[in-house]
């Protein structure tokens, strides 16, 4: 387990197609988003990965099947599930134990099969939160430049225009362990100047809190349908880390309700490897991930899968 940010995964990969060429292996934007979410957990080791929403869930499973095999994942209720069929050992390193992305594709192990390896009722989840052995990827109805997040309600809290999820576990998550966010519709309505209610703690408020209370606070990544963002700036304001294939830097800036920090060179978010694409076909054979990016789907912004 490490608190260090992951090594940059965003550089252009060898063998990229030229602009205008078809995506490698027929990869879609949803596939790119799944892989970008998976990268959030790179380097985390044996901690509980808690993804909310389908694309983060597929990302966490992909990370567990490839470069981050020690991650723990729940079934959304009280069981911990590990890759492996009825006859599989399910132990560390199997499958995909080399740590190379996509290395388990075509090895004969099925990415879709899982075994129960443990038990994690809600009371134990809360203990894992307080112990810091967790990295959650939550949704955000609103998110500001310092990573303050709102999932509770829109408008005045006393009588909201729209009651949404409530604060849920966001205050406890953000003060205790790394947190990332998934935003399926990157727009000025979500990436806002000011959130209506601070549920998840951002960097400006964590700085105001000061040490030692803020020492476990880390907002690691924000993955959207357009880009990957992080907070690696002197004042911990949000920065464009990479743009997805086919997205111009100006598109990402225009879809953001506050000025983004932009490095001189903005890399492109990487494509899935052939091995990752093969695994995605196994763990999401019906292609449900495509629906999460469709306008009108609410799952990413308001679905509150609790673990």
């Amino acid at each position: 387990m490490t608190g260090a940010p992951p090594a940059s995964p965003a550089g252009p990969a060898a063998g990229d197609p030229a602009p205008g060429d078809p995506a490698p292996g027929g990869a879609t934007l949803a596939d790119v988003c799944v892989v970008a979410c998976a990268e959030a957990w790179r380097g985390d080791g044996a901690i509980l990965a808690s993804p909310m929403g389908l694309i983060p869930t597929l990302g966490a499973r992909l990370a567990q099947l490839t470069f981050e095999p020690d991650l723990l994942l729940t079934d959304g209720e009280a069981y911990l599930l590990a890759p492996g069929g009825p006859g599989a050992s399910g132990g560390p390193g199997a499958p995909g134990g080399t740590g190379a992305p996509g290395s388990s594709g075509g090895t004969g192990a099925s990415g879709g099969e899982r075994v129960t390896e443990g038990w994690l009722p809600y009371r134990s989840v809360f203990t894992m939160v307080a112990a810091g052995r967790r990295h959650v990827m939550m949704g955000a109805s609103q998110l500001d430049r310092y990573g303050n997040q709102n999932i509770s309600c829109i408008g005045d809290w006393a009588r909201p225009k729209a009651q949404l999820l409530g604060v849920r576990g966001a205050p406890g998550n953000t003060i205790n362990h790394p947190v990332s966010y998934w935003v399926p519709r990157h727009s000025p309505r979500v990436l806002v100047e000011r959130v209506d209610l601070v549920c998840g703690l951002g960097y400006d408020r964590a700085a105001a809190l000061g040490p030692p209370g803020n020492r476990f606070h880390e907002v690691r990544l924000v993955v959207t349908n357009l880009a990957v963002l992080d907070f690696r700036t002197p004042d911990r304001a949000m920065r464009l880390r990479s743009v997805h294939p086919g997205v111009a830097v100006d598109d990402a800036l225009a879809a953001t309700g506050f000025p983004l920090a932009v490095p001189d060179q903005v890399p492109r978010t990487r494509w899935p490897t052939p091995g990752e694409l093969a695994l995605l076909k196994e763990i999401d054979p019906a292609g449900r991930r495509e629906q999460e990016l469709r306008p009108g789907s609410i799952s990413g912004n308001v679905k509150g899968t609790p673990k």
């Binding site: 209720e77 009280a78 069981y79 038990w119 009722p121 809600y122 009371r123 809360f126 939160v129 307080a130 509770s152 309600c153 809290w157 006393a158 009588r159 909201p160 225009k161 729209a162 009651q163 949404l164 999820l165 409530g166 604060v167 849920r168 576990g169 966001a170 205050p171 406890g172 953000t174 003060i175 205790n176 209610l197 601070v198 549920c199 998840g200 703690l201 408020r205 964590a206 105001a208 809190l209 030692p212 209370g213 803020n214 476990f216 609410i298 308001v302 679905k303 509150g304 609790p306």
Partner: protein, 309 residues
């Protein structure tokens, strides 16, 4: 109900209406389960029938809170969310908030756990990091912080004890004396709800003879003991329409029917009249009728489809 009665073997078994009769308007009532999972819904329906009002409900909220709010029985909800799980937002709670019809103590879900634990341990508060720096502190101006008296000097939220006048829980099995057993994957916080309360009532899917609980599950499934509860009710289907695995899963079709009852101001009276106007047996009959009609409609569609080809 006293020890003599228990010793005679009658235990502390009572009826749904008896439980409601022990509760009063204005009470603070904790409700076990989580979201739309293993909620003591038959006891909630009994509260509706008894006409209690002005309640403060402490809950990992689901349709328990939704039903009570829809009927205007709740003054304040204490929770971190209100969800039907497969339907992300509890529709009646949502509407009540947007109408300004219910007060809300909005806490991080872990704070709720900590407040129940403090109450169960008879402590005034327990320290916690959750909430620091966030608007949970702004919307709960009574929340205080506390500084560690040791060398670290760290400041924490002092989560106040969530003391309850009464607690309601639903488990899979129980005996007549008040020992209770869960058979699903998660105990939730039902034991803490009971210990945080002055009065605790447990409904169950089935009563089993004393000493026979270990025939249905391992020792650690015995979540609640008879020092924690003041009354036991046998209520088969008592968690409906929430899940009570392994006895039954959530009734998703009926939950959708319930959610539709929040579609507009005219929708709720129809739902109430059809499902909530009688006693618990009437409710269970109305649910069976709902499923029969649903099946008949499906069969009709299939037949019509076949005939048109």
């Amino acid at each position: 109900v006293d020890g003599t009665q228990a010793a005679r073997g009658d235990g502390i078994v009572m009826g749904l209406a008896d439980v409601a009769g022990r509760l009063e308007s204005g009470m603070t009532i904790g409700i076990g389960g989580w979201g739309s999972r293993r909620k003591p819904m038959a006891l909630v329906r009994a509260i509706l029938r008894a006409g209690l009002t002005g309640l403060t409900i402490v809950s990992y909220a689901g349709p328990d809170v939704g039903l009570l709010v829809a009927e205007g029985r709740v003054r304040r909800v204490v929770s971190g969310f209100a969800s039907l799980d497969s339907i992300a937002l509890e529709p009646h709670f949502r509407q009540a908030r947007q109408r300004g019809a219910v007060e809300f103590t909005e806490l991080d879900e872990g704070m709720l756990h900590w407040g129940l634990l403090a109450a169960a341990h008879r402590l005034p508060f327990l320290p916690m990091r959750a909430g620091l720096g966030t608007d949970v502190m702004r919307v709960n101006p009574d929340l205080r912080t506390v500084r560690s008296p040791y060398a670290d000097g760290e400041e924490f939220v002092a989560v106040p004890a969530l003391r309850l006048d009464a607690a309601l829980i639903h488990l899979n099995r129980a005996d007549r004396r008040g020992n209770g057993q869960y058979l699903g994957p998660d105990p939730y916080f039902d034991d803490l709800f009971c210990l945080a309360a002055d009065l605790a009532f447990m409904s169950c899917e089935a009563l089993v003879p004393a000493g026979r609980l270990l025939e249905s599950g391992p020792p650690q499934s015995l979540l609640v003991n008879r020092a924690m509860v003041h009354g036991v009710v046998e209520a088969p289907g008592g968690a409906h329409f929430t899940s009570c695995v392994p006895d039954y899963p959530r009734d998703e079709e009926f939950q959708a029917e319930y959610a539709a009852s929040a579609a507009g101001p005219e929708s709720w009276p129809g739902f109430r009249d059809r499902y909530l106007s009688g006693d618990e047996d009437d409710y269970q009959r109305a649910v069976r009728r709902f499923h029969r009609e649903r099946e008949a409609a499906q069969a009709g569609k299939t037949q019509a489809g076949a005939a048109s080809r």
